[in-house]
């Protein structure tokens, strides 16, 4: 195997217990400086992992307070202002400092260069700078949230954010603005890497699907984030100057802000969910030992989602007084964007057909993703119907819908990916029992938390309510109870994953018997990933053991 690394599933020899290599990226250098000044994409991924996990815990703490407050209809636990600041903090942290960066910066940073067979990303220094930008933006935002807070919600709708709010709007906006450049630079780095750094033989159609979806994500990050940056700048200028372009007193239009905001914030939903889909494509194939069903369809579905995702933003504004005509156009386009997602779900399901399915932890999370994402997507179809959106817009129905996509979808897939690549990142295996238990707890807790919210929403409970009519209490209590289960499910991996660092068994280069290039190098990988540049000679998912080829 000295000339080229040949792909293909080779069952691991049982006689030889896996060993950890003597030198790898984690022990090649020691000390704080070796981490904070590293340009190794793998170490930067670990830096992101730490930052993003800390922020997830903070956002989760805010969610816990929200759910506790909603246990009683009169909201006795928290004053109204505190509650408003908490749901704003929850949204801001979770969207911009967890969901958007989590998969690209942690898993993408670590895996993407290895998947393409490169020694690093195209711009390693820029990668480190992105982490610093992200961290600085995060610290500013956190400071704004902790020192007084912000109560506009994560959407910063004008004129509330520019005139009425009496909280730290400007520092929060600055923090988000700064961290936005981290997104842009990460996207830029990924696109350049995918275009110019692929290993010999790695043609576009031999790329693993995670790379296709990362590519689509990066394009969105590159083209949508600047629009948000400017929208926020305009809000900041108007607030600081006392005069500005969304000001109805001057003839300005508050709805224009919503257009700019959702032009970013709708595509960014796909930034969250596209890489998640990529992870699931990797895992489903690996654990059913089958090539993906319909590679081309799944790959182009990612591109389709990225393109169509830019054309549906105004479906967030169906009740904001837009013309009937434009509402109809955006409703129709919203149905179109559902098609590629449907393709992916059907193709994943078809991949299982006649497979050899084993239920390791990553696979459990991935199957959970398909189930929950499907529900999120289908309720999205209900929302795209103008007549129904009129009723459920800005109610808990929306809350439940997007949590199915973002938590049931993105977070489930992130957990799947983290458990899938954890042995590669650390060289250690985690507890099989505890990890499967946590997958189960998260799934059950999630359903319990968010299913009642669909009912609440159709009953008419508006979102962002600190107090609510007493008849909604039982459903809210159910939801809060589910949230406590969910919290346990998320804390459990924190314990056994950290535990695995010290007591986990050595994983070996390829514990799952997977085919990607990243599995052809030791775990943890050497500092430059591959001792020699790999040469790719086949497609990404050569798992099949029979030579029967399906007729197209």
């Amino acid at each position: 195997m000295s000339d080229a690394i040949v792909r293909g599933f080779v069952p691991q020899a049982k006689a030889r217990p896996p060993r950890t290599p003597e030198t790898h990226y984690l022990n090649v250098e020691y000390g704080v400086k070796s981490w904070l000044l590293t340009t190794d994409h793998k170490r930067i991924a670990i830096l992101y992992l730490i930052a993003v996990t800390a922020l997830f815990l903070l956002g989760g703490a805010a969610a816990t307070m929200i759910r506790l407050n909603l246990m009683t209809p009169r909201g006795e636990l928290l004053p109204a202002d505190t509650y408003n600041k908490l749901f704003s903090a929850h949204g801001i942290i979770m969207v911009w400092f967890f969901l958007v960066p989590v998969v690209p910066t942690v898993l993408g940073n670590f895996i993407l260069p290895m998947m393409v067979g490169a020694r690093d990303l195209a711009f390693p220094k820029l990668n480190l700078i992105s982490w610093y930008i992200f961290t600085i933006g995060g610290i500013i935002t956190l400071w704004a949230i902790l020192a007084g807070g912000v109560d506009t919600g994560w959407t910063f709708y004008t004129p509330f954010s520019t005139k009425a709010a009496r909280t730290n709007v400007i520092p929060t906006i600055i923090g988000i603005f700064i961290s936005g450049f981290s997104s842009i630079l990460t996207g830029l780095n990924f696109i350049a890497t995918l275009h110019r750094m692929r290993a010999p033989g790695m043609t576009w159609t031999r790329m693993p699907l995670f790379l296709w979806s990362s590519y689509a994500t990066s394009v969105i990050l590159l083209l949508a984030t600047p629009v948000l940056a400017m929208a926020l700048i305009l809000v900041g200028v108007e607030r600081a100057w006392g005069i500005g372009i969304f000001d109805p007193d001057l003839g300005g239009d508050p709805i224009l802000f919503q257009h700019l905001f959702w032009f970013y914030s709708h595509p960014v939903v796909y930034v969250m969910v596209l890489p998640a889909m990529g992870i699931v494509s990797e895992i489903i194939t690996c654990f059913s030992r089958k090539p993906i069903f319909g590679y081309i369809f799944v790959a182009w579905a990612s591109v389709g989602i990225a393109v169509l995702g830019f054309l549906v933003w105004a479906h967030h504004m169906f009740v904001a007084g837009q013309s009937v005509y434009s509402a109809q156009v955006f409703s129709a386009l919203s149905y179109l964007v559902a098609v590629p997602s449907a393709i992916k779900v059907f193709n994943w399901t078809a991949t299982l057909y006649k497979g050899s399915i084993s239920f390791e932890t990553p696979m459990l999370f991935a199957l959970g993703f398909i189930a929950l994402f499907t529900m999120g997507g289908l309720t999205g179809l209900m929302l795209a119907a103008l007549g129904v959106d009129m009723h459920v817009h800005d109610t808990y129905f929306i809350i439940a819908h997007f949590h199915f996509i973002m938590v049931g979808g993105t977070v489930m897939a992130y957990m799947a990916g983290l458990h899938y690549w954890w042995p590669k990142m650390t060289g250690r295996m985690y507890s099989d029992f505890l990890s499967k238990l946590s997958a189960l707890i998260i799934f059950v807790g999630f359903i319990l938390t968010f299913l009642p919210q669909f009912v609440l929403g159709y009953l008419g409970m508006p979102r962002r309510y600190h107090v609510y009519p007493p008849e909604f209490q039982i459903l809210n209590v159910m939801s809060s109870a589910g949230a406590s289960i969910l919290a346990v499910g998320y804390l459990l991996p924190l314990i056994y994953l950290i535990w695995s660092l010290f007591a986990g068994k050595a994983a070996g280069p390829n514990p799952w018997g997977a085919t990607g290039l990243e599995w052809q190098t030791p775990s943890p990988p050497p500092p430059h990933n591959f001792d020699e540049t790999p040469v790719v000679t086949s497609g990404p998912y050569e798992y099949a053991t029979e030579e029967i080829t399906d007729v197209h």
Binding site: Y295, Y335, I370, H552
Partner: protein, 355 residues
């Protein structure tokens, strides 16, 4: 256990014609989407069980796709989506066009309360009374930030955006007491910007209004404001008038000085009070000062009611002693327009006639 769950509300009350339409579509969507969810879940479970790994030596076939099947599940959903889209769009469109016989009630949202003004001049806060089986058209304005008028039992809502009028209508079908929510986040007491909608029998509605004892109808109150702001100084509807005649203006077409024609609807009239130079009627000078800051949203609603009630010959004559409004230009317009040259600023048309 059963006793607890018996109290769990699962479905909201229905109290408007729209509610039945929305629910019908919702049930359809639930059936189709629920069916799809069950299908996917069943396939996942079935495949997971049937093809579970039985040993390390399992053989798996090399199935890389089936284009016919994939095109099928790419195209097939589109047909279902067309049904969903058309159905949804139909309801949305019907809700956006109030019937001509609708009773108009004005609603003003401000942090954090709802205010209502009935055509008879009666005012209320928090609780809206409407007669059953009567189409109600609400014209809504906001005094500060964006609010949203949401009555779950009517299955309809609309964002109330500062700087413009928005409209919504419904036809209550069932007597009762229903929630009114603000469903667009508007600050500290957003969750307490709530109220009740009382759908009552027509007689009870009349009694309710009688009990409110208005100091004159909305139009009467508008007439008082009309005099207070001395609108009749210029809008005097006689030969010396320096501004267009307002009688019979409302809801008819107006030709502007740039040649465009617009309908003099509520939004136009409101804009003409607050930004008079924006849309100037053909043949007139842009001399009117803005009333921004002098007339609040409630005042404007009253003025509009008055303007809409004006019949030919009813404009109060100009009182020679009255001074022009504070900001009015001191010099009258230079060129004198011959009466014969002046085209009527609007062409009277039917109530809902299209140009």
């Amino acid at each position: 256990m059963n006793a607890i769950f018996a109290d769990v509300p699962l479905f909201p009350e229905r109290a408007s014609t729209t509610a039945y339409q929305v629910d019908a579509l919702f049930f359809f969507l639930c059936a189709v989407c629920g069916g799809m969810a069950v299908l996917v879940a069943a396939l996942l479970l079935y495949f997971s069980f049937k093809y579970r790994r039985r040993g390390e030596d399992d053989r798996t076939p090399r199935i890389t796709g089936n284009h016919r099947l994939e095109w099928f599940w790419t195209i097939a959903p589109l047909f279902v989506f067309v049904v969903m889209f058309v159905w949804g769009a139909k309801i949305y469109t019907s809700v956006s066009e109030p019937p001509p016989d609708a009773m108009e009630i004005f609603v003003i949202g401000k942090q954090w309360m709802w205010k209502f003004q009935y055509p008879g001049g009666e005012r209320a806060i928090e609780n809206l009374y409407v007669p059953v089986d009567q189409p109600i058209k609400l014209t809504l304005a906001s005094e500060d930030v964006i609010h949203d008028f949401f009555v779950p039992a009517f299955r309809t809502k609309i964002d109330v955006i500062p700087g413009r009028y928005v409209q919504i209508w419904f036809r209550p079908t069932k007597v009762g007491e229903y929630h009114l929510f603000c469903s667009q986040y508007c600050g500290t007491n957003h969750s307490q910007m709530i109220g009740k909608v009382f759908v009552v029998e027509r007689d009870d509605f009349r009694k309710y209004l009688d009990g409110r004892k208005a100091t004159g109808s909305l139009a009467d109150q508008g007439w008082q404001l009309f005099l207070k702001f001395q609108c009749n100084t210029c809008h005097s509807s006689n030969a010396e008038a320096r501004a267009p005649v307002l009688e019979g203006l409302a809801n008819n077409m107006v030709t502007l000085n740039n040649g465009k024609k617009v309908r003099a609807d509520d939004g136009y009239l409101r804009e003409s009070i607050l930004n008079p130079e924006e849309k100037v009627v053909q043949g007139w000078q842009p001399i009117m000062p803005t009333y921004k800051g002098q007339a609040n949203e409630e005042d404007i609603i009253k003025l509009l009611a008055y303007i809409k009630s004006l019949k030919p010959g009813q404009t109060p004559s100009r009182n020679e002693n009255s001074s022009p409004p504070l900001d009015a230009p001191r010099v009258p317009p230079k060129e004198k327009i011959e009466p014969g040259d002046r085209k009527p600023p609007y062409q009277p048309e039917g109530q809902n006639g299209k140009p």
